[in-house]
């Protein structure tokens, strides 16, 4: 009976929503009870926007199978758009920030379409290179524009990013991207990763789906940028260089290309790890880069491979174990 219930999509949605709300309450309680100190609570924000960045890059790198190297460019577009919007309007914080995030996300998505249309005609390494080029150009243009503050950076952005808004943004990102992947459109995107020529031969409009995935990916990078802008309250174009794109890629690849769970886990660990290694501040970047090379040599598919965690499946297995029936060996069921 319980098993049949667990297979229902609507029940799974309810289950995940409850779990998400539960986690939020636990986090808030930990902060209120001072188990997490102020500094640790603030760390939740970078973890959050790194999760959004990694998950969104995973859509185009892991699920679409392309290799964009200009994710920081979209992040910077979103960050500046959101910051300029919130500086121009004067609304209550709880209205202004989400609006700014939407503005940032949409602007970045528009850039995604504009850049994606020409760039996605290329494949493999060339696509990587052209996105890298676009990312650098965006940075240089921001550096030379008047209204973005140029090299001095954009100052005086309201510090409006709270743990709650980051949490909501992460949930929305995960929901949109995971449902997108499980949908018909998602299967088209996956088919392009597996074999682009075969996908095209089967009548899938590959250009449309490539641009779609790329745009969604860029849009969420923009949302993350908006959160970043309202967290730091100052934007500096030099922080959106190629190294930032590389860092996001590192998170995605370490977590596992094509695993949202991996991206979330890797983003969390890789944001906390440098802080934990702060005692060895001098050595931390060395250790970090060494770790990356070592993981790549010994587990090139990333730590999680393509593993996906599903609360429904986990409970399903658990309930079977409780009744003494070992789960049959089969491919992990998708939450359908």
């Amino acid at each position: 009976m319980a098993t049949r219930l667990l297979k229902k999509t609507s029940f799974r949605y309810a289950l995940n929503a409850t779990a998400a709300a539960g986690l939020y309450i636990v986090l808030m309680a930990l902060i209120d009870a001072k188990v997490l100190n102020r500094y640790q609570a603030l760390m939740l924000i970078p973890i959050g926007f790194n999760i959004i960045l990694a998950v969104s890059l995973n859509l185009s790198a892991g699920f679409l199978g392309q290799l964009p190297l200009g994710h920081a460019g979209f992040m910077s577009v979103g960050a500046y758009a959101a910051a300029l919007f919130s500086m121009a309007v004067n609304l209550p914080t709880n209205v202004e920030l989400p609006l700014a995030l939407v503005v940032g996300g949409l602007t970045a998505a528009v850039f995604g379409v504009v850049i994606g249309l020409p760039a996605l005609r290329l494949r493999g390494d060339y696509l990587a290179i052209i996105t890298l080029g676009f990312g650098e150009i965006i940075r240089v243009i921001i550096l030379n524009l008047k209204f973005t503050g140029g090299a001095y950076g954009l100052k005086g952005i309201g510090r409006q990013t709270t743990v709650t808004w980051v949490y909501i943004s992460v949930l929305v990102t995960l929901f949109v991207i995971s449902t997108l992947i499980k949908s018909r459109h998602g299967r088209a995107i996956l088919s392009i990763r597996e074999d682009e020529i075969a996908a095209e031969a089967s009548g899938i409009p590959t250009t449309y789906y490539k641009v779609l995935a790329f745009t969604v990916s860029a849009g969420f990078a923009g949302v993350a940028g908006g959160l970043y802008a309202h967290y730091l309250s100052i934007l500096d174009p030099s922080s959106f260089g190629f190294m930032r794109s590389a860092e996001i890629l590192v998170i995605v690849v370490l977590g596992g290309l094509g695993s949202l769970f991996g991206s979330v886990a890797a983003a969390t660990v890789l944001t906390i790890l440098p802080e934990l290694l702060r005692g060895f501040a001098e050595y931390r970047m060395v250790i970090y880069s060494l770790l990356l090379v070592v993981v790549m040599i010994f587990k090139p598919s990333g730590l999680c491979g393509r593993y996906e965690f599903s609360l429904g499946d986990a409970l399903d297995k658990f309930s079977m174990l409780m009744r003494g029936r070992l789960p049959q060996k089969q491919a992990p069921a998708k939450g359908k």
């Binding site: 290799l67 290329l122 590389a246 970090y288 090379v293 790549m296």
Partner: protein
């Protein structure tokens, strides 16, 4: 600044780009890897020259030669440790490893020599007068040595046995192996050669810009990489032409438009080329087989 000076300056920085681009191009041709650590090898070359000269007061020519040797060894070492185990796995993991190696080199250097920029005294002082114009000897030497090295490299690849091996491996790795080519040695040799050229580029770069820091390699490397793509990645004359084009474009932008926009122009050229002719000026278009 007159047009002639701008062009000469462009040729100078362009020949440095060309030297570095050759390394990118050769490595890409042979293992199909965009070696992101190549830019940081330049940085290692610059630091080793500087360190030998300032700490042990080694004469400049010896320090330069030593740093070429150090970089060649480092290039081979990186290939053996980091890239070789991944040759069979996907391109993406290879690329990420390259990014990892690049970060590792940068941060190790930062640890050893701190992030502060160091002053690099120009080795080649004095000027050379050609016709009515005076050029610094660093400029003339850079251009001259680069032309010499590029000619040498072309001859090496075209005429010698190891050059033939390099060409066969880049054509078809497995067939080359069946024909008795030692693929591993050839790849190591290519890495050594590319890294050595990068070290030469590093010495000349330092002479004209006089400042070195652990992150200097990334932008220089990226631009050299753009040069390699512009010329057609995998093609040697392409890397040279690409390097010179990028150098001249950069110098003209600095002279006539704005020095801040040079990076945008360089990457704009890259995008334009990729959209019009993705295989670059000299590259052969690759046909896809099902």
């Amino acid at each position: 600044m007159t047009l002639v000076y701008l062009l000469i300056n462009g040729l100078q920085i362009g020949s440095i780009y060309a030297l570095v681009a050759l390394g990118y191009s050769m490595v890409y041709g042979i293992v199909k890897l965009v070696n992101f650590a190549h830019g940081d090898i330049i940085m290692v070359g610059a630091y080793s020259t500087w360190y030998l000269m300032s700490r042990f007061s080694v004469p400049a020519w010896l320090a330069a030669l030593a740093s070429v040797a150090i970089c060649s060894a480092l290039g081979v070492l990186i290939e053996k440790i980091a890239y070789k185990p991944l040759r069979k796995s996907g391109r993406l993991s290879l690329l990420v490893t390259a990014i990892g190696v690049s970060l590792l080199l940068q941060n190790t250097m930062q640890l050893l020599f701190s992030a502060n920029p160091r002053m690099f005294t120009n080795i080649f002082t004095g000027t050379v007068t050609i016709g009515e114009r005076q050029f610094s000897s660093a400029t003339t030497l850079t251009i001259g040595v680069s032309i010499f090295l590029m000619t040498g490299l072309t001859l090496l690849v075209k005429k010698t046995k190891i050059g033939k091996a390099m060409r066969t491996v880049s054509e078809d790795n497995e067939t080359a192996q069946l024909m008795g080519v030692n693929v591993n040695n050839t790849i190591s040799f290519t890495f050594a050669l590319g890294s050595g050229l990068a070290a030469v580029g590093a010495v000349f770069y330092c002479c004209s810009y006089s400042q070195i820091q652990p992150t200097m390699g990334s932008m220089l490397g990226l631009k050299a990489f753009v040069a390699a793509v512009l010329g057609g990645i995998g093609s040697l004359p392409g890397a040279m032409t690409g390097g010179l084009c990028i150098g001249i474009a950069e110098s003209l932008t600095k002279g006539y438009i704005s020095s801040q926009l040079t990076d945008a122009v360089v990457f704009g050229i890259l995008i334009f080329v990729l959209l019009i002719r993705p295989s670059g000026i000299f590259g052969r278009p690759r046909n896809e087989k099902v």
